[in-house]
């Protein structure tokens, strides 16, 4: 059977590259959920998921970083064990921790937009340390604001109670992740990519 080649709409080279990277970063963010370190300032261990969100925004830019985190959520919803503790399923998007998850695409977009100064990706944006730190601080605010609101809505807590339960103990570790992320994107191994 011969193929009617004219009817096949190939995905363009640049888009293929971006889709591949977005999917790999979504998978990496899921894999990061399994990597935990003891937290020096709190009993809750540090996992690297949020690092995945930051790095998707920085390295893929706002648009594809956001797409990547969208893929992460959809893959998790239909069963890929990518959420904290290997969780999966639509219910994860309605759980008390759902607010954090829903914020990931927005946070990756925000981080990317601040680092690259707009929607277009710019080369060597990672050279500006202040901008990197500022971008990730914005990302952290987005994630925790959404997470606390989610916690408050899903469990019927007041915002203060939700903040105490879901943010106070975790925010210090975010500063460490921001420091790690700056080192990662400025390392020779990644900058060469």
């Amino acid at each position: 059977m011969s193929t009617d080649t004219a009817s096949v709409e190939l995905v363009g080279e640049e888009t293929v590259q971006n889709v591949a990277r977005a999917a790999l970063f979504a998978a990496l963010t899921g894999a990061f959920a399994y990597v935990s370190f003891p937290n020096p300032v709190s009993p809750a261990p540090v996992t690297l998921q949020v690092l995945g969100v930051f790095l998707a925004g920085i390295l893929l830019g706002p648009v594809w970083g956001g797409v990547s985190m969208g893929l992460y959520l959809v893959a998790g919803a239909i069963g890929a064990p990518v959420f904290a503790g290997g969780g999966a399923g639509v219910a994860e998007l309605f759980r008390e921790t759902a607010g954090y998850l829903w914020s990931y695409p927005v946070a990756a977009f925000a981080v990317g937009a601040v680092v690259h100064g707009g929607v277009q990706i710019r080369d060597h944006a990672e050279r500006h340390v202040a901008r990197l730190v500022g971008a990730m601080a914005v990302g952290t605010v987005v994630i925790y604001a959404s997470g606390v609101v989610g916690l408050s809505v899903v469990l019927g807590l007041s915002l203060q109670e939700a903040f105490v339960t879901g943010a106070l103990a975790f925010i210090p570790a975010e500063a460490l992740k921001i420091a790690a992320a700056v080192g990662i994107v400025r390392s020779d191994q990644i900058a060469a990519e």
Partner: protein, 232 residues
Amino acid sequence: MIETRELVHRYGEVAAVDGVSLSISDGEFVVVAGANGSGKTTLVRHFNGLLDPDSGEVLVDGTPVADDLVAARTRVGMVFQNPRDGFVAATVGADVAFGPENLGLPHEEIDRRVADALAAVNMASRGDDRIDSLSGGERERVAIAGALAMEPTHLVLDEPFTGLDAPARESVVERLRALREAGTGVVVVTHDLRDVWDLADRVVALREGQIAVDSPPVSARDRLADLGVRAP
């Protein structure tokens, strides 16, 4: 038929492929040989338009590849070195079906092609196996099946024997022999001719992006060692 005319491909200042004119007929078994960095991989990636030439042109069955990428990519199937990162699905059958699905073929035609391609690599009835559970040789053969499901006239394999043990290499060689007998053109990229010496109609050896040798294996034998190519 695959033709390149005065093909040049540069990475920065370096010409990885430097004026190569080559013609590969249907059904021919060609080995593209050369040391690391001689331009082998870069050359064959032009055969189905994965790279754009800096100058010169590439034609498949007389049509410039850039004019019909889909035709070039269905006629020239490509199996990459270390195919592990090229699989799109977790199971064998789903992966082999990926190419035909992209061509928009009807379901029955896709099923037939997957079955035929798996049979051609001795993997019939293995469609539900998980790719991660396969041995290196089996994975190489699944990658070949993924390319064959496009029903190409030529199959290009980049270093197909790297990292395989002797029985696995033999299982791949045996499949290549069967393809050759079935009339499929085969292009093997390698720096080690020992596995495919008996199968090759022709050896094209590259040095610094240019053709240094283009002849039947027997008459090429004496010159290969200087080009960093191992021969039996």
